[in-house]
Symmetry: C2
Subunit: 247 residues, 2 copies
């Protein structure tokens, strides 16, 4: 059994209580949906994971930019994020570019491809500028922390991989309910282990989360009636989909 590839196990019992789901800023309109549920099917179960920015919960040595910070700092507070940002901002420009972000993330026992970093930057800025400021950095920080905690929770045997049904549960705990057909497609795309049994490694899990999160948010933008259906013009469709293709 390989060692646990992303640091010591997190204190699972210390998660704060769930707050509103990440997309809870605009509740589904009652009576507008076609299914028996009051929300479109892709909203799934309410996330049981740590809400972004909730603080607390001992990430200390666990957080994704830990390698950048030379000394310990109090967990769960904004100054940590600021310190990480300043450490990542190697040229002191006040913005983190793609190479800086890749370097900062890759220090954390992981290699993030530039491709993943670009998708990350696109999804957190909605532009192709490939620079992020403090606000987006903070969102990235908490999202990655959250995704890692979820991955660790479902990687029960600490193999550094999760299987198909664990991926489904992991996505569900992030608030994304995908069908078995979509799940199968996701696994076929993000399983890069080359093994006989299908499995997703941590960095591919992050890419999978980014993809599902990004596509779902784009869909939601068009599903203004919360009906579970969205209408696109050809232009909007192309502009929605193309950014997800790997350059």
């Amino acid at each position: 059994m390989a060692g646990y590839p992303y640091g010591p196990p997190p204190p699972y019992g210390s998660s704060p209580a769930p707050s509103a789901p990440p997309y809870g800023d605009k509740p589904p309109k009652e009576g507008k949906t076609s299914s028996s549920s009051s929300a479109p099917p892709y909203y799934g179960a309410p996330p049981s994971s740590q809400p972004y920015g909730a603080g607390g919960g001992g990430y200390g040595a666990q957080h994704p930019f830990a390698s950048l910070v030379p000394s310990a700092f109090p967990p769960g507070t904004d100054p940590n994020v600021v310190a990480c940002f300043q450490a990542a901002d190697r040229d002191g420009s006040g913005m983190i570019d793609d190479k800086e972000l890749q370097s900062a993330l890759s220090g954390y026992n992981q290699s993030f491809s530039l491709r993943t970093v670009h998708l990350l930057m696109y999804l957190f800025t909605n532009t192709n500028v490939r620079k992020i400021g403090p606000k987006e950095f903070t969102s990235v920080f908490y999202s990655l922390q959250n995704w890692r905690a979820i991955f660790e929770r479902f990687d029960r045997d600490r193999s550094g991989k999760i299987d198909s049904s664990e991926l489904r549960d992991a996505l569900l705990s992030l608030g994304y309910s995908v069908s078995l057909t979509v799940l199968d497609l996701l696994v076929s795309k993000f399983d890069k282990t080359g093994g006989k049994s299908r499995a997703i490694e941590y960095d591919n899990f992050i890419e999978c989360c980014l993809t599902v999160k990004g596509l779902t948010e784009k869909f939601k933008e068009k599903d203004t009636a919360y009906s579970g259906s969205a209408t696109f013009t050809y232009e909007a469709f192309m502009l929605t989909v193309l950014p997800f293709l790997i350059a």
Copy 2:
């Protein structure tokens, strides 16, 4: 100036007259469209390129599987395609798998990535089975021949690259009218030259064509009223988009 990277120049003047557009199996319904044109904007101008399967027009040494055929054969007839198919079908299974197709295509002065081959197979079978039979092989054959001829037509200086406005014209001649915004996104995705001026090389052009063709066809399937707008459920949206992501 580098040599022309995909064989001797084709006999440009010998193209047969255009026939129906590739998507002409189902004409736009009059009176259903919202623009002044009778077709949605993404249908663009009628293709001026060689229609698939039109035969004639001296492809002889030009066709994409030329390297597989040991001796000359009469151009423009089905037996050529059959011969190519048989040569590509190394294990004699009657089906071409992904490795066989990659090998057959790569023989033709090109290296096609397995990723491109998988996208090709997906788009010509609508499945992830990764095997194609004679019928799909024939479509792949004529499509690649057509795309190469178009690439060559627009690569006027024979540099092996086309620029952004040439890409737009090339797509238009294939029947795909994309906006400048979409064009810009396509170039940013498929320009892998690393050069200062943006340009698309042949294999990336093929991938670009596959992507635009595939996404446009998927969109059209949902745009049943030919209105230029398409409605997707979340499930359909995810199942439409995910296959285009690079595995």
